[in-house]
């Protein structure tokens, strides 16, 4: 009897010790993630004015209705997806770069290029936006200078000030920072392809192009999916560079072409506070992210099955 009791005490004590490792993080997540998230859901159904918390009025789906009928919100969704899709260019470019670097073979030269090309990704931030505002300037900007030299005519495109080019300008800025990351992930995955797959193919008499098609590409699919998903999710919450380009406003200058969903939410949270509308926008952002994550889970699961099916072995 005594023994059993002390054993149980010991168990309870053991449990408490393990929970002492977790409790701070659990409480933090409840207070800083779950409660605010539920509050956002709640706000999205209320007419929340700036000051009052006591007399908020339940308005059902009105906030969502207002958003869906609002052309500038729809515009921000369009911008977000356009920019996110244009940003996907970093995947093929990063893959080509990684293939070139990988073909150098392991050694100092490869390490040099790997590190040097990754470098822009490290300093991406406000300072890079300042630099690219000048690089992409219409008059005497570096890009226009280079283009003028290539074309032989004076090119004066306002990459970040002309609303018909601004998305390309913003994409160039984005790619400059993200190609290094894409290269690094592509390279790491290229190098993890088992060498014996290529050897087996060589025995079967496959040439370089066949090896590339039947081994490299299928083996890299999960890497491409990973980059696609992270790039899309990152693109959905794009904010910093476009906010700075617009002169520290969330209007998405020039001409609203660079206003993303998050900038729209920011506008209705901090510039012209209407927390109900902002929260409804936030929930839509959450749902979009959630859907992409679910697709990700589905796809990656799907590819795991494919691999087991032996398609790769055949190659």
């Amino acid at each position: 009897m005594m023994q059993q009791r002390s054993k149980r005490n010991f168990r309870v004590r053991e449990q408490l010790i393990w929970y002492s490792f977790l409790i701070t993080s659990i409480l933090t997540l409840i207070l800083l993630t779950y409660i605010p998230m539920l509050t956002a859901v709640k706000y999205s159904f209320y007419d929340v004015s700036v000051l009052g918390f006591g007399d908020d009025v339940f308005v059902g789906f009105q906030n969502y209705q207002k958003l869906i009928n609002n052309s500038s919100f729809l515009n921000s969704i369009k911008n977000t997806f356009l920019l996110a899709v244009m940003g996907l260019l970093s995947i093929p470019i990063g893959f080509i770069l990684a293939t070139l670097i990988n073909s150098l073979g392991r050694g100092q030269r490869q390490n040099f290029f790997r590190v040097a090309f990754y470098f822009p990704n490290i300093i991406t931030g406000a300072s890079v936006v300042l630099i690219f505002q000048i690089v992409l300037k219409a008059n005497n900007g570096l890009l226009n200078n280079a283009l003028s030299f290539l074309v032989g005519q004076n090119v004066k495109i306002g990459w970040l000030s002309d609303s018909s080019y601004s998305r390309w300008g913003a994409t160039i800025l984005h790619l400059w920072g993200s190609i290094g990351y894409s290269m690094l992930i592509n390279l790491a995955n290229l190098q993890s392809i088992p060498e014996n797959l290529y050897e087996a193919a060589e025995v079967d008499g496959a040439n370089g192009l066949q090896k590339w098609f039947h081994i490299t590409i299928p083996q890299m699919t999960s890497c491409f999916v990973f980059l696609f998903i992270t790039s899309m999710i990152g693109g959905l919450s794009r904010f910093t560079d476009l906010f700075i380009i617009g002169g520290n406003t969330s209007a998405g200058r020039p001409g609203g072409t660079l206003q993303t969903i998050l900038m729209y939410i920011y506008q209705f949270s901090f510039e012209a506070p209407q927390y109900g509308i902002a929260s409804a926008g936030a929930i839509i952002l959450f749902l979009l992210t959630f859907i992409i994550t679910l697709i990700n889970l589905k796809i990656t699961g799907f590819f795991k099955k494919e691999k087991k099916g032996g398609k790769v072995r055949e190659a």
Binding site: E14, F21, A40, S103, A116, A126, L130, L187, A188, F243
Partner: protein, 275 residues
């Protein structure tokens, strides 16, 4: 054999040209930051300053509290990183080695957070801090570090690989879980700690939206937001000083990168492949 060597040189050459094009904006920005001619108009392209000067840096440092921004950023980054990594290891240890009721539940509870983007709960979080009177303090920027979910997930995988025999022998010596954690697990997890710290430092240094929302007074601002003030207030002109600000704000991470490049590149590659 000879053909292979030539191909290798051709590829090296292509990569080299590509690299020069990639880094050209930075080189130009550095040149402009030392150029007295870059003030109201952009001077013609040159990698050597037309009129070399330190004037732009003087303007940058006198018109903006760059040193203060730096110190603020270092404080916030250091606090957040230390908290995030330490608590991630604690949770990682419990999930890897612990036996307790609700283990799976709490693990899913934490992983689910990865599906909730910070941005979608930002407004209520901001109002929460506003009601607590914590706006314009560093508390909101730091206490998120108590739950670094990606780190927890990553730490669990790594700590799981530590052999149980080490723990068992410590048990026999009468050590409790906390002593095992502090004296065995942490010393064995140095590579893990390095990776997580690097990821934390990088994301903290470039964090923009949250400090923009939380910090109001100029003297408390962080470098990322502080740098963009320069852009908003001096909109179209003062190219030289702007480039000086950009260069100065990019220096710390550049140095960090040059010193730790091998570890940084490894950490990023790992974080992208162990999906």
């Amino acid at each position: 054999m000879k053909r292979k060597k030539i191909v290798r040189w051709v590829i090296t050459f292509i990569l080299f040209i590509w690299l020069i094009i990639t880094l050209m904006p930075l080189a130009w920005a550095i040149a402009l930051s030392f150029d007295r001619k870059a003030l109201n108009t952009l001077p013609p392209f040159s990698l050597i300053p037309h009129v070399p000067t330190l004037f732009n840096y003087e303007v940058a440092f006198t018109s903006f509290p760059l040193v203060t921004y730096y110190l603020n950023t270092i404080i916030v980054t250091a606090c957040h990183t230390v908290l995030a990594v330490f608590f991630a290891l604690m949770c990682g240890y419990a999930f890897a080695k612990g036996r307790f009721v609700g283990k799976n539940f709490w693990f899913v509870f934490m992983l689910a957070v990865m599906m909730i983007p910070f941005e979608s709960r930002m407004v209520p979080l901001y109002l929460q801090y506003k009601n607590m009177g914590l706006l314009d303090t560093y508390v909101p920027l730091i206490i998120g570090g108590f739950a670094y979910v990606y780190g927890i997930f990553f730490a669990r995988q790594n700590i799981d690989a530590i052999p149980d025999s080490l723990r068992e022998s410590a048990y026999i010596d009468g050590a409790g879980e906390w002593r095992i954690f502090l004296q065995i697990v942490i010393p064995l997890s140095m590579p893990l700690i390095a990776t997580l710290s690097i990821l934390q430092i990088l994301s903290n240094w470039n964090n923009y939206l949250w400090p923009l929302v939380i910090i109001r007074s100029n003297s408390k601002q962080l470098i990322s937001v502080g740098v963009s003030y320069f852009n908003a207030t001096q909109d179209a002109i003062y190219y030289g000083p702007r480039m000086a600000v950009a260069v100065v704000s990019a220096i710390p991470l550049t140095i960090l990168f040059l010193v730790l490049q091998k570890y940084i590149v490894q950490s990023i590659a790992i974080s992208g492949t162990k999906e």
